[in-house]
């Protein structure tokens, strides 16, 4: 039968396609995805590889998990609708959290402000102008207490976008649970704790790669024993993509980071099946629907093989790639912001068709400012409509078998494997970071994309085509200017109340110098009242700081 199709396809190409193209030029010279994959005009059974169904796809919930990690997927449970939120003071963010929970959101996701992410307290000079801007300011355990006021930590799952200071913020969360008498074994959630992508793309690193890796792995080890339901790392392609990477680069670099963490953890003595089941991933859902769906499927396939073949994992859960998705912030436009509702809807569909475990949908006004409550609600409604009305949640991997999707999935796998080989040759992700390999690759892609947009080869509606005269629309949310002063006063008051932490900090430095386990000691420290800034500055004395080469 395959021969018949081969003949049929050749005939169609010769008798129909070529004459048509000769008669009527195509709309564009080439039809490439963002990853430079040249899409074919038509996919047929001929584009499916020689692989066997069971080896290449299998059944959902079974190796190699291409069709999904659970047998029933969204029939059993919908993905978690998790809107990333946080701004201003802990009290304001707490109010937004409670609003989102009341609107049917099913998990929390905390955005921290940059000082918190970079290890500065709100009253540090480097924090000036940044407090509460891109997220909530948390310097002390009391801030954490306010952030989760009237929210039951044993019932909600909390994801925290925090990396360099992940250990300290998780320590505060644990300390808060203890303060409320909640068994830490019942806590569920995620800390991002993915420091490698900070060097690659996002830039909020403090210490050099080696001690940072130590802290990251230490956190993984701690949760294995103490917070069995916690996901100690969320290996993130999102920021890599936002920095301008292609879909293939996003996946390749993220998996390379994943390999580095597993490598580091196992060589530090952890058994792969003890921690790997709680590793999770975080991807971007960009505009190109077909490419994105294929990317998510390829990610599951590749990770399953890596865990089984490279690391010898035995537990199927270690081989399952679980992932959170956020729609692409970089695909939104400041022009005609309502158009972003449309983009986000399509991107969210890609994530769901790709089998995501949780999803953040961006608000239409995010290209302009912090999202307003109304915009956040529409973003959440986008997920609810897809879940309830579209029928997408009824069937597992509904695109499975599509010639185009299967062929793209294979193509992406192949290209990612080539990158992984290259990174192995460079000595792994940590060395590749230090040599600037990732950064250069991403910068090249970002520049090419920008040039394509400017040349009009890539149309962005409202930006390089279909522009209109418009006023600046939509109400924007602002952070109160008085916040910084208020925070400084409260911190001073907090420090007065708790007394000196000098002895604790010297002991902490000693532990850091000796390379000992840190997490439990950090929990004790925050309980004593040590602040994020104090702890980071003490660790910085031991670990040193890191600045990357500024290549453009």
């Amino acid at each position: 039968m395959s021969d018949d199709i081969k003949k049929g396809y050749k005939r169609w190409e010769k008798e129909k396609l070529s004459p048509t193209a000769a008669r009527r030029p195509l709309r564009k010279e080439s039809f490439k995805t963002t990853s430079e994959i040249e899409l074919k005009t038509l996919y047929t059974p001929l584009d499916l590889g020689d692989g066997d169904y069971l080896d290449e796809l299998g059944f959902p919930g079974e190796y190699p998990f291409a069709r999904g990690i659970y047998p029933t997927m969204y029939r059993g449970r919908l993905w978690t609708m998790r809107q990333y939120a946080g701004y201003g003071s802990a009290t304001e963010t707490n109010a937004r959290f409670r609003y989102l929970l009341s609107q049917g959101q099913t998990g929390l996701s905390v955005a921290f402000d940059l000082p918190t992410q970079m290890g500065y307290d709100s009253d540090h000079p480097r924090a000036e102008g940044e407090v509460g801007r891109v997220g909530v300011a948390v310097s002390t355990i009391d801030d954490m207490e306010e952030l989760f006021a009237d929210i039951d930590l044993s019932r909600v799952s909390t994801s925290m976008t925090i990396n360099s200071t992940a250990s300290i913020l998780l320590a505060m969360y644990v300390a808060l649970a203890r303060r409320r008498g909640i068994d830490t074994k019942s806590l569920s959630g995620t800390v991002q704790n993915d420091i490698l992508k900070e060097y690659i793309a996002r830039g909020t690193y403090i210490f050099p790669p080696k001690p940072s890796m130590h802290l990251a792995i230490d956190l993984i080890g701690y949760t294995t024993d103490n917070l069995p339901r916690w996901h100690p790392i969320s290996i993130s392609g999102y920021h890599i993509r936002e920095a301008g990477a292609t879909a293939v680069q996003e996946l390749a670099f993220t998996l390379a980071d994943g390999i580095a963490y597993v490598q580091e953890a196992t060589s530090g003595g952890l058994a792969v099946d003890d921690f790997a089941p709680r590793i999770s991933f975080f991807f971007c859902a960009h505009n190109n629907l077909l490419e994105e769906v294929a990317k998510f499927r390829a990610a599951r396939l590749l990770w399953a093989r890596i865990m089984k073949e490279r690391f010898g994992a035995k537990n199927p859960q270690s081989m399952q790639l679980r992932f959170h998705t956020q729609t692409a912030g970089c695909a939104l436009t400041g022009q005609q912001p309502q158009n972003n509702v449309v983009r986000v809807a399509i991107q969210a569909m890609a994530a769901v068709l790709g089998g995501t475990q949780s999803l953040h949908t961006n608000s239409r006004d995010e290209a302009l400012s912090l999202p307003s409550e109304e915009s956040v609600r529409i973003a959440l409604r986008t997920q609810q409509i897809i879940a309830e009305e579209s029928g997408l949640s009824e069937v597992v991997d509904p695109l499975g078998g599509s010639y185009c999707i299967e062929s793209l999935t294979e193509d992406i796998c192949r290209r990612v494997e080539e990158y992984l080989e290259k990174i192995d040759d460079l000595g792994g992700a940590v060395l590749a970071v230090e040599s600037g390999f990732f950064q250069q690759e991403i910068a090249d892609s970002a520049y090419r994309y920008q040039k394509e947009v400017e040349a009009g080869v890539r149309v962005v509606v409202g930006v390089n085509e279909y522009q209109i005269e418009e006023e600046v629309p939509l109400k924007v949310l602002r952070v109160d200017e008085a916040l910084e002063k208020e925070r400084a006063e409260r911190l001073a008051e907090f420090r007065r109340r708790r007394g000196s932490v000098e002895r604790y900090l010297s002991a902490l430095k000693e532990r850091a110098r000796d390379g000992e386990a840190m997490m439990e000691f950090l929990v004790e420290g925050v309980e004593l009242g040590a602040t994020v800034g104090e702890i980071c500055s003490a660790l910085g004395e031991v670990y040193g700081s890191y600045e990357s080469s500024a290549s453009i």
Partner: protein
Amino acid sequence: MAEKIRVLVGKPGLDGHDRGAKVVARALRDGGMEVIYTGLHQTPEMIVEAALQEDVDVVALSILSGAHMTMFSRVLELLKENGADHILVTGGGIIPEEDIKALGEMGVGRLFGPGTPTDEIVEYIRGAVEEARAK
């Protein structure tokens, strides 16, 4: 031939999202300018010091975190203190319209939002510098 325009592209504050800064830096370089990129996590002091040292015509700042009011006004102030207020301060990021107006009144040049074609930025900087040099 006129002297090459020298631009310092700066990333002040704690934010590490440098896609925009890098793309613009590259476009300015492709536009025939001498570009100095500061790298991440710069304080206004560090930026002004580099600007003076490199004797630039333009300081272009990329700020996405919302700290623009603080950062731009501090850079202007420091330039003035050092007698270098002839240097054009411009930039871009996620900056509300009202703030753009307020910053303009303080003496900041044009500010560009997401989606601006890089050519527009190159043209603006070239025009502004040539005008300043003609004076």
